[in-house]
Structure formats: C-alpha cells, structure tokens
Symmetry: C2
Subunit: 232 residues, 2 copies
DNA sequence: AGGGTTATTATGTGCAGACATAATATCCCA
DNA sequence: TGGGATATTATGTCTGCACATAATAACCCT
C-alpha cells in the first residue's frame, strides 16, 4: 500500500497529504520543484514526476514560471470504462447473446448524418440489434455505419459477431463523442426490451471518428434497472 | 499539432500510428524499449515516457520481462468531468440559483446507511435542494451528510451556498463511487422539477469517502432533456 | 508614465548511466 | 522427471546534468 520512501509515488502521497491536511490549502502556491527535491532528499526529476501526476489528475495547476498551486476547484473526473457489451454481460456472470433485428441501407435520418457531418444522402449501413444477458433483453442497439470509411463491414458476418465487437476489432478510431441521457420507452422499444412503454431507460449516444472520417453513430437503449458505475 | 521530432510525444504519435496502421496489430508484442530507442535515435527514457503514456491510456499492456504488447481489447475510457452544479449552469450561460427545500436530522433510510457503511441509527444531516438554471428547475438534490465526519456542516450557511459547493471546498475526499441510471419521475419529483410524472430522468448516485470515513451520499435527479457529455 | 526589450525563473523535457523489480526461462540435482 | 534454486531480461525508476520554453518581472529609453 505505502510506496517505497524516496519513490515518486511516496512524494505524490506526501504532497497529497499536505494538500488534504490544508498545509497547502486550495489556491495556494507550493514550493518549487528544486526546493521540494532538496527537502525530500530526492532528485528534481522525481518531484517532477510526482507533481505531473497530480497535475494530470487535476489536483494541481502548474504553469511555467508561475509555479505550482493547489487547484481551487478540483474538478473531479470520473473515468468510465466502456467495455464491449459482450464483455460487460459476461463479466456479470451471465451468458451473452446478440440478435440482429434489421440490416438495410436505407437513407439515414438527419440527426445521424448531421452528427457524422455527412451529406444527407451518404450511403450508410443501418443495423438494429438486441443484446441479451441470460436470455433477458439487455440493450437495444441502433447503429449507422459509414460504409465509405469501413467498406469491409458490408461483408462482415454480423449474425455471428455483433457490430459492436466487429468494429472495435476492425475499425480503429481516434476520437469520439459520448453522451448519456434518459428516455421514456416507446411502444416499439418497450416490446423489444420486454418492459412497459414509458419506462425510464438509459440512452447512450456515441459517434466515433478516424481522424476526420466519421465511422459510426450508435444509440444504445439499456433495459430498465441498468446502472453505469464508475470510480471517482 | 505535430510534436517536435525526438520528443516523447512524437514517439507516442508514431507508435500510435503503427498500431493504427496495423503494423503492430492488437495482441502483438512490440520491440523492447532499448531497440525502439535506438531505432528512433532517442534515449530509452524518452521511449519509456511515450509507452507509459500509451499504457496509461489502455492502448498498450506492459509487463516486466514479458514486454510490451498492443492491448487486445483497447478498453475505451471516457473521462467525465464532474463540475460543481453552479459552474455547469453558468458555463451554459444561464444564471444559477439554489433553493434549500428541506433540512433535518431524521434517521436515514437503509439504502443510505448501508451505502455509507454506517449503523442504521447514525446521525446524518438530511438536505433537499433544488438547483435552478435561469429560473427553470435544473436538478433535484437529495443528500445525507455524515455529521460525525464533517461537524462544521451543521453551522454552514446552506441557504447561501449549496451543500454541493460547500462540501467541495470544506470536506475533501479521497475516493468515491459514481453511478448513473434512469428513473421515472414520481409525482413529488415531477412537481419539484416542473415536469410530467413518469418522465424519464437521469439519476446520479454518488458517495464520497475520506479514507475510511464516509462523507456524504447524494442522489441527483436531473430535469428532462439533461444530457451528460464526455469525450472518448 | 508608457511601452517595448531584456533578464529571470519555474516548469518541461532530453540524455546517459545505474540499479531495482518482477516475471520468465533455464539449469541442476534428487 | 519434477521441482526448486538461479540466471536472464524487459520494464520501472532514480540521479545528475543540460538545455528548452513560457511566463513574468525588471529595466530602460523616450
């Protein structure tokens, strides 16, 4: 648990302790790296490593010449791990299955083409799939894939492997958006997810990009009772 | 945009490019640091910095002796910034207000005491507040604070400053849980949030700890239309 | 006093070398 | 052949040094 004395982790922990104990209250400047290094009896690089780690976590604000100060509003960040749905289900100890409900190349709604910044007549592959956990509906997936960016998807065995998983393995992306909201189940959605119409569902919207090329747009509707957990 | 040649960021970018270009496909081992350092013409420490950064991002798996390999399932992580509600509202360009609806020291429900791992008769301060954005309801906050851990809260001016903000400034925490779900508005909640009963609402549950001491439990119910955004 | 140039300073980062550590591979002996 | 001691190897990290960079402070000249 406790780091070896003199290690950058030990320095980090001690700095954190002082911040926490209000020795260095929020907004205050802390000694410079050289001084800290001397007082801790380590090299400046070691102090630098510790402080950079804390700065990356948002605990410290560092600016050249201005020095290092304790963040005034430690903007807490929660990191959400986004696993492949199959892994998520299996990690919960339940058998996973996926049923492809629809697959066509109809024109996409404006919402989708605009989110992907594509012309409204762009050729997109439309997929609808139901993810099952232990036989019960887990999530309803509505997806549009930019066929121009990922032509191989047109011949992928999407009845065997979920588009979710196929894309992760075959269409790397460099950036994306991710948003969460709540939605009342429509009658169609309720039928697919075996719940009451109007039930509150977690809705996840995601778009992914490979550089400037849009890859895919997904809307994931989770069955009632679903909860996304993350650590602070 | 492009990093200076020879910098660790440049190494990182090049490694990422090779992974991305499938020169080093998922699951494969990449050359060791010494070899990479030589081929890039930089010091091993520089390569190390680059690879550590990628490992922290989940792109690489590194193990002593075993070497470095491209992560098989690059578990994507989205980082969610959790601002103080006031800041969130003001950042959207709307005036913020907070109304304290209730403040008492009634015994807490089992759900709360269990989540905080406290005896069911522990003295907890109960608060209910409505956060407003531009006059319209933004979120309904239901909070229980461990008075034993943060005695100063009992004399805090919670009609002036939201408990949310007061705690961030006065009760640092070391760890916590954070989870998101969807809930149908009850009639009471609908009345407070000025929406229809049954409307789908984003529900955020949060508990925070200072080491082993529980600090607070919060349930935040966002008004309809709320959407949490994050970058991948 | 004002405004632009220059010095100062704290962080950012690179290098070479060294040792620590963990995980694996190998060897040796019963 | 099995199993435990030992060697090997790749990453982890510390040190001391150097220079780069950005931001601020100081200065100077008009």
């Amino acid at each position: 648990m406790t780091a070896r004395p003199g290690s950058w982790q030990a320095i980090e922990a001690e700095v954190l302790r002082r911040i926490h104990a209000r020795d260095w209250p929020p907004g205050s400047a802390i000694p410079n790296e050289a001084d800290l290094a001397q007082s801790f009896g380590v090299a400046r690089a070691t102090v630098n490593r510790a402080l950079q780690s804390l700065a990356e976590a948002g605990i410290l604000d560092r600016r050249r010449k201005a020095g290092t100060r304790v963040a005034l509003h430690p903007v807490r960040r929660a990191t959400l791990r986004i696993p492949i749905l199959r892994h998520e289900v299996e990690a919960a100890g339940q058998p996973y299955a996926c049923r492809l409900l629809a697959r066509d190349e109809a024109p996409a709604p404006e919402v989708v083409t605009q989110a992907l910044r594509l012309p409204s007549d762009a050729p997109l592959l439309h997929l609808r799939a139901l993810h099952l956990a232990g036989g019960a509906p887990h999530a309803l997936e509505e997806r549009w894939v930019n066929a121009a960016a990922v032509p191989a998807i047109l011949s992928a065995p999407l009845d065997t492997i979920s588009a979710n998983e196929w894309l992760v393995a075959n269409a790397p992306f460099t950036s994306g958006d991710f948003s969460i909201a709540a939605a009342n189940a429509t009658t169609d959605e309720a039928a697919a997810l075996a719940c009451q119409p109007g039930a509150a569902l977690v809705e996840v919207l995601r778009t992914t990009w490979d550089g400037a090329r849009p890859i895919t747009w997904v809307r994931l509707l989770h069955a009632p009772g679903y909860r996304m957990r993350m650590a602070l």
